[in-house]
Amino acid sequence: MADRRFQVARLPGFATIAVLVFLALYLPILTLVGFAFNAENSISVWGGFSLKWFAAAWKNQAVQDAALRSLTIATLSALIATSVATLAALGTTRRPAFRGRGFIYVMINQPLMVPEIVTAVALLILFGIVKQATGYQGLGYLVAAHSAFCIPFAYLPIRARLAGMDASLEIAAADLYASPIATFRRVTLPLLAPGIMAGAMLAFVISLDDVVITEFVKSGGQDTLPTYMLGQMRRAITPEVNAISTLLLALTVALLTAFFLLTRQKD
């Protein structure tokens, strides 16, 4: 029999605290989702079940534009960030230790450390200069900014996967007449794929969710879904915002579930 005295789950009050924590975490979200189905105009007074706010959001041209913009930016930045992160992960694990590797590791993860508002202001200033110099006003600034802060989120699962991967497999491939490129294509990449997928999904979700940097960097008429919602909150709030949030939440949960299933998978 294991000694049960030190099990946290058996301390007095554990269950109560656990319930309170879960309520604090999920009650707001449940409320938000609940009122998305409200038949009334209120986000706090229940007036019966309805799907009309979902329909309203679906038909709203501004929502459609913002959603499309969000998905475009998230897809592009996830692709760019994952490619960069894959190369960075290979460079920091699959070659002999070199001077400054620790420094590079810190530099890659820097966006996790620097306060987002600082990055946002810095990008606002820098892109302002670039906009003046080039006259370019497109989505490129948002894609560039999102790619940059998504890199560490893509890098971490890829690196973890690589670090857990037996390097002798690549040596074995070389022993069996595989050139370095064939080794990468036939052995490293297939084994790394779950990590790359996980990194890409994480990057996608992080990009989809961003408000602060987007709000500072975007030009006029470049609202993403989160900044559009933020704008709506400043005016009259209707359950339409709840409906959009609910859809965004569903998408995020779906992607994170896939992420979890992919990273959990063992050989």
Partner: protein, 353 residues
């Protein structure tokens, strides 16, 4: 030239400057075509490093590696017709058994039909034909071992390198695989270079053995030569059990500290170490034996044999081994009894240091 692999003055140093460690210190060894050659030694003796240099996973600090007389020192591993069975097997977990076996042949660019046919033949050779479609994770350790063997043999390498391939198996499976390996080597005729720290494994499987220690080759020879004529104390001690006797040279032979003279050619005044296997000592002198007085200390029963632990008058400890199957074997003398052993001078080996 009948040498498959030749290492010439190979040095491999790890680290730099004063902290550099020589994993291989001027190793020169020739491995004949078609033989089962074993690199034997304790961990850290450099045997695996030598194997990795032959495979091309590492480059020597200096020296050359020749394959069939051609210098391959600068070739990367994928361009050497040499395959390896790894200690960890290093099987590709995302591929099936058959895909693992086919991998090397595909990389060689062989036609698809030939790859499929040879894969089937290799799987039959290691008796895994029924498991061709399985993933690696679904196999037992012994089955993985056989996949690793088939994968390395399939591309028909000129030399097969085996890095302690049996160390992860339990004793029974190990014995079985030892026989299997020997059979595969004889059937394929491929030169095997086998790395192990298990002296019994080396003795039973090899055509020739190189005993290594501290990055140097101590002795190369057939198992019988290594066992019966070890050149130095390390080899005598590492392979099997040995009694060491200190002696001083005289005109007529070697004088043991306890006074017994072993006839032979010796330089008067020179000190030497003599080696004598426990099974070569007899409990009583027979014709031609030298009498060797000793005191019985204790007997240890070990199933097939009984070990007699004895002490000579000069204080040197000595072990004698008697097979228990011998019907004539009487009970060993009681501890403290003085007896006279029989020593066949022809079986005494003089060591170099």
């Amino acid at each position: 030239m009948d040498l498959a692999i030749e290492a010439l003055d190979v040095v491999k140093a790890f680290g730099q400057g004063t902290s550099a460690v020589r994993a291989l210190d001027n190793v020169s060894v020739g491995i004949r075509r078609g033989e089962f050659f074993t690199l034997l030694g304790p961990s850290g003796c450099g045997k695996t490093t030598l194997l990795r240099l032959i495979a091309g996973f590492e480059a020597p600090t200096s020296g050359q590696i020749l394959l069939d007389g051609a210098d391959i020192t600068a070739l990367p591993p994928n361009r050497r017709p040499v395959n390896t069975v790894f200690q960890s097997y290093a099987l590709f977990p995302h591929l099936t058994v058959a895909q693992n076996v086919a991998f090397g042949m595909e990389m060689q660019g062989r036609p698809k039909a030939e790859v499929a046919q040879r894969t089937e033949r290799m799987l039959a050779l290691v008796r895994l034909d029924a498991l061709a479609a399985r993933k690696i994770g679904q196999l037992s350790g012994g089955q993985q071992q056989r996949v690793a063997l088939a994968r390395a043999l399939a591309p028909e390498p000129r030399v097969l390198l085996l890095d302690e391939p049996l160390s992860a198996l339990d004793l029974k499976l190990r014995r079985e695989m030892q026989g299997e390996l020997k059979r595969l080597q004889q059937e394929t005729g491929i030169t095997f270079i086998f790395v192990t720290h298990d002296q019994e494994e080396a003795l039973t499987m090899s055509d020739r053995i190189a005993v290594m220690q501290s990055g140097r080759v101590q002795q190369v020879g057939a198992p019988r030569d290594i066992y019966t004529k070890p050149v130095n104390r390390f080899v005598a001690d590492f392979i099997g059990e040995t009694n060491f006797l200190e002696a001083v040279g005289e005109a007529a032979g070697w004088r043991l500290a306890c006074g017994v003279l072993i006839p032979g050619t010796a330089t008067p005044g020179q000190r030497a170490t003599l080696a004598l296997r426990p099974e070569h000592l007899r409990p009583a002198p027979e014709t031609g034996d030298l009498p060797l007085p000793a005191r019985m200390e204790r007997a240890v029963y070990s199933g097939t044999d009984t070990h007699w632990h004895l002490r000579l008058s000069c204080g040197t400890a000595l072990t004698l081994r008697r097979p228990n199957s011998d019907a004539a074997t009487a009970a060993p003398p009681n501890p403290g009894t003085d007896i006279t052993l029989g020593l066949n001078p022809a079986l005494v080996q003089r060591l170099e240091d």
